[in-house]
């Protein structure tokens, strides 16, 4: 018996030693660095995609959405546990999760949520009673769930100081605009308390600074260049998302390139592959479509091969003005890519002068594709690119294709590359499982005990 007791004790001891690395451990402060120099904790539509992702990540730590969309485009419960709509998609009913509280202790009731959503969407009629929330609109809201899953529709209110108060796993402890943000664990989070006690975010740090800080152990979670793993530091864990950004050329309405043939020729003459393989060091995918292939599966229908001869034929009789090509100077690769595009264009006789001054005739832009739902991403992309909203007639892939083709027919936007976003975590970080769409899932992260 004593022998059995000893064996049991020994087994329990061994298990406790062996499981020391894997057992969930609470506590510690997760040190995060971001490029974005956030001046507020609200989502901005003016920043770079990097700014967007950073703001969305911060938002996801503070607040929850009613639903979320998984990588397959399927809706998943959030603050709403269930939902249903009428046949034409104009009236939606949600069942709100009970017992959820904001960081200030107030209950996130259907009525409060309805008030928050109603203030954001004047064209909706939002009502909340008990745990039932209804959203009505005069037009069909076929993609309402994907829309509600966007970070901008997170359920968040503000305190008297303007700080966001959400229902997320962390609440704002201190915010120095543009410099630092400190979040502490929400003990009453409906999804359970996060493992780390706090998250300290340093804002406005370049990728190089983040990389160095990670290498020196001064940061736990940083952004990284979306280059193939072989070119990254093998000691770091780099996670690359699916392509969730689009790099494209956009002609503004007042561009001198009013001739469709000039725009079409430019679209034909750009050799995307060297841009992707050399300048972007193999990151991303050359594309001629707005939506990435992983969302739609049809992007091969938009050929990406350069066709110089065809471009010259298209340009044969057209007047070729000298165009200026602008780019975002905050994007480290944009200048080189712009020069490469100008070089390609010159082969067809199109003069593109890369310039940062004045209003450009064509701009190299980078936008985020914020949703795994293709229709929602297409709408968001059209908004970001300054295009008309796509006319998506139905829910089929053909309808989506037709809508996207319709957006690109005038060549006012020339898609170039679909890019992923990448993040890297230090050795202290455990159970880090970032989403394929670029989200970080910080609430699941555990930190190794500090040996210092």
């Amino acid at each position: 018996m004593r022998r059995i007791a000893f064996l049991l004790f020994a087994a329990v001891s061994l298990l406790s030693v062996a499981g020391g690395e894997t057992r969930p451990r609470y506590g510690g402060t997760l040190r995060v660095m971001m490029q974005a120099r956030l001046d507020s904790l609200e989502l901005s539509t003016n920043g770079t995609p990097g700014d967007y992702w950073d703001a969305a990540r911060v938002q996801s730590m503070i607040a929850d959405t009613l639903v979320s969309i998984d990588i397959a485009g399927r809706p998943q419960p959030g603050l709403a546990l269930a939902w249903q709509s009428d046949t034409n998609g104009r009236r939606w009913s949600f069942t709100i999760r009970r017992g959820v509280k904001f960081h200030d202790g107030s209950v996130a009731s259907a009525a409060v949520i309805a008030q928050i959503m109603g203030e954001r969407h004047a064209d909706w009629t939002v009502r909340g009673t008990g745990d039932a929330l209804t959203i009505e609109s005069e037009s069909s809201l076929a993609s309402l769930l994907a829309e509600l899953a966007l970070p901008r529709n997170a359920i968040v209110k503000k305190n008297s100081g303007g700080s966001p108060i959400g229902t997320g796993p962390f609440r704002v402890a201190d915010f120095q605009p543009g410099k630092t943000l400190k979040l502490i664990a929400n003990e009453d989070s409906w999804a359970g308390r996060p493992f780390v006690d706090a998250v300290e975010i340093e804002l406005g740090r370049s990728l190089r600074e983040q990389d160095i800080a990670l290498a020196l152990g001064k940061a736990d979670l940083v952004e990284a260049s979306p280059q193939p793993p072989a070119l990254n530091n093998s000691s770091q864990r780099v996670r690359t998302s699916l392509p969730v950004e689009l790099m494209a050329l956009v002609f503004p309405a007042n561009s001198k390139a009013q001739d469709l043939r000039v725009r079409e020729a430019l679209a034909l003459v750009i050799d995307r592959k060297p841009i992707q393989s050399v300048l972007l060091k193999g990151a991303g995918e050359p594309t001629a479509s707005i939506l990435p292939n992983w969302m739609t599966g049809y992007s091969v229908a938009f050929p990406t091969q350069a066709n110089l001869q065809r471009a010259k034929v298209v340009l044969a009789d057209s007047r070729q003005p000298t165009l200026t090509l602008g780019y975002d100077p905050r994007d480290p690769q944009a200048q080189l890519i712009s020069e490469r595009i100008a070089l390609n264009a010159r082969e067809a006789g199109i003069t593109l002068q890369v310039s940062l001054s004045g209003v450009a005739d064509v701009n190299l832009v980078r936008i985020a594709l914020p949703s795994a739902d293709p229709a929602t991403s297409l709408r968001e992309a059209a908004r970001a690119l300054g295009l008309q909203q796509p006319l998506i007639q139905g829910n089929s892939l053909d309808d989506l294709y037709s809508a996207e083709r319709g957006l690109l027919d005038l060549h006012t936007t020339i898609p170039l590359i679909h890019l992923p976003v990448a993040s890297a975590a230090g050795g202290r970080v455990h159970n880090w499982q970032p989403g394929r769409a670029g989200d970080w899932n910080v609430s699941e992260v555990r930190l190794e005990a500090d040996s210092r």
Partner: protein, 590 residues
């Protein structure tokens, strides 16, 4: 122009000519020297440029060789030889090499001539490098046009291969050939260097660089650059920058050729011509000063020389004028033994001969006059004397032979005697009157009145000779003159009388007056038989007459009256058509 002035002018022109010739000679020599100095400076700068070009070229070659031998290039070459397909990792290598080697341009090019990495245009990877085929064999540096994202530029390049494996990796490196290159040259004072980067098909003013970038006033240099671009040969030109003639610059243009002898640049060495022009101005000023002083000295000297040389000539001329005026006693001093002295001596001799000859002539004329007077007197007196002699002889004969008739003969004889004595008295009176011609007593006189008065005197006589018609052409606007009306009356009367005598068979007499400038004219014409040329020339000689019973004093008296009034008389006669006497008198008394 006087001989002295001519002499003065010749002296001045000679001095001026000498000054101009000397100044032009000095200027020409100086300009040649200046141009030679300019050429020397331009050649020196060009030589310096070539030397610097060579030095920088060697430097570029050395740097490119170092780049080709660098570890990174060797590694890339090795990877390429091992079949590395992804050249994406090399994009930044050229820029790193450029920084390491302090080169403006670096490109890594594979054996097929494809750019793997470009420092100057990073986006250019994957494009062919057109210079590779021709540049591979060149040991030294060469000029090359380089395309950049911002445009084209000119560079001094070298190419070297990284010697790893069978597939060479070429490193093309270079430095800009622009104003920075020019600033390394040691430019002499007054000289500047411009560089035209011949990168465009047409003239581009922005491609003309000086030490500070695009050069100003490029358009004026354009023709010279164009000429060099077309010909590929060195050329020179002078550029006028403004209206100021000193603001000019002479340019020496030297073509800079690429490997295929195409003109890729033009080096322009400019030398300011201001020193030359200012020197020219100084020379001109000095020449003007020297010329002015020289001319002044020449004038003074020539005045002195001319006075010295022309004094005998002037004396001679003065003496000649006196001789011409009738002073045959004029003599000049013979002060030298030269030609002028001989001329003066000859002149004196001549005047002496003339004087003696005139005295002899006067004496002969006087004798002739006396003879003529004697002949005339004899002739005039002989006519009345003969009746006197006959009458006295008749009286004597009648007293002796027919006393009874004596009384009658005496009466007739005394009557004849008295007539002839009166005739003698008349003759003597005329001679006396001619000898006692009074001086004119001038008063305001209207010649028309004188003419009317004379015609009234002859009115009765002319009425008797009805075959003579009188016509007047008197100028009603004729001004008064200062004259003796009585003497003019006498003169005009003689002319009218002569006209009447010239018309024994009748005819027409015209008496007229007219104004001729400062003179008035009085004329008497007849339509008689006219006079011969000889008669006309002798008409006014005293005692010369063409009439049977004239004394020959009438026209002499007329000429005397006219002469005393400061006028002149002339005669025009045509045989068988008539004769006209014209008296021209000054308006004012002289």
């Amino acid at each position: 122009m006087s001989f002295r002035k001519k002499l003065l002018l010749i002296f001045a022109l000679t001095v001026l000519f000498c000054v101009v010739v000397i100044s032009a000679s000095v200027w020409s020599t100086m300009r040649r020297s200046f141009d030679r100095a300019n050429d020397d400076r331009a050649n020196a700068v060009a030589a310096q440029f070539r030397s610097e070009f060579q030095r920088r070229g060697d430097e570029v070659v050395r740097k490119v060789e170092a780049a080709a031998a660098s570890e990174s290039v060797q590694r890339i070459a090795l990877e390429i030889n091992h079949g590395a397909s992804d050249s994406g990792g090399y994009v930044g290598e050229a820029r790193n090499l450029a920084v390491q080697q302090h080169l403006d341009f670096v490109e890594l090019v594979d054996h097929q001539g494809t750019i793997l990495s470009s420092a100057q245009w990073q986006a250019k990877f994957g494009y062919p490098e057109p210079a590779i085929p021709s540049a591979i064999g060149s040991a030294g540096a060469f000029l090359k046009r380089e395309e950049l994202s911002t445009g084209s530029t000119l560079g001094l390049f070298a190419v070297r291969a990284a010697g790893v494996g069978e597939e060479p990796l070429y490193v093309i490196g270079g430095e800009r050939l622009d104003q920075g290159f020019l600033s390394t040259l040691d430019i002499p004072a007054g000289t500047r260097v411009l560089l035209y980067q011949n990168l465009d098909a047409n003239w581009n003013p922005k491609a003309l660089l000086d030490l500070n970038g695009p050069a100003s006033g490029a358009e004026k240099i354009a023709p010279l650059v164009e000429q060099v671009r077309r010909s590929g040969q060195e050329s020179q030109s002078v550029i006028h920058w403004s209206d100021d003639s000193a603001d000019t610059e002479s340019f020496h243009a030297i073509p800079l050729n690429g490997p295929n002898q195409q003109v890729l640049g033009v080096l322009l060495v400019g030398s300011s011509r201001r020193p030359l022009i200012e020197l020219q101005r100084q020379v001109i000023s000095a020449a003007l000063l020297v010329g002015g002083v020289g001319i002044l000295v020449a004038v003074m000297a020539s005045l002195w020389f001319a006075a010295r040389i022309t004094r005998p000539v002037v004396s001679l001329a003065e003496a000649a004028r006196r001789v011409a005026a009738g002073d045959l006693y004029a003599q000049v001093d013979v002060a030298s033994n030269d030609e002028l002295g001989e001329l003066a001596s000859a002149f004196n001799h001549m005047t002496e001969d003339l004087r003696q000859q005139k005295e002899r002539t006067l004496q002969a004329e006087r004798v002739a006059a006396w003879r003529e007077l004697a002949r005339r007197l004899a002739h005039e007196l002989k006519n009345p004397l003969f009746p006197l002699q006959v009458t006295v002889e008749n009286l004597i004969r009648a007293k002796e032979k027919a006393p009874e008739l004596f009384e009658e003969v005496f009466r007739e004889g005394t009557a004849t005697l008295l007539d002839e004595v009166n005739n003698l008295k008349t003759i003597i009176g005329r001679f006396s009157e001619f000898s006692r011609m009074p001086q004119p007593q001038r008063k305001p006189t209207q010649l028309n009145d004188v003419a009317h008065s004379v015609l009234r005197v002859f009115q009765a006589q002319l009425q008797e000779k009805s075959q003579i018609k009188v016509r007047t052409e008197l100028d009603p606007e004729l001004p008064q003159i200062s004259a003796d009306a009585e003497l003019l009356h006498r003169a005009l009367s003689n002319l009218v009388l002569n006209a009447i005598d010239a018309l024994p068979q009748g005819g027409e007499i015209t008496v007229g007056t007219k104004t001729a400038g400062d003179e008035v004219e009085l004329f008497v014409s007849d339509t008689g038989s006219g006079l011969t040329q000889e008669e006309c020339s002798r008409l006014f000689t005293p005692y010369y007459t063409t009439k049977q019973h004239g004394t020959g004093l009438g026209l002499a008296i007329v000429q005397s009256v006219v002469s005393d009034h400061g006028g002149k008389i002339s005669v025009e006669s045509t045989k068988e058509k008539g004769t006209t006497f014209r008296i021209e008198l000054p308006r004012d008394a002289r």
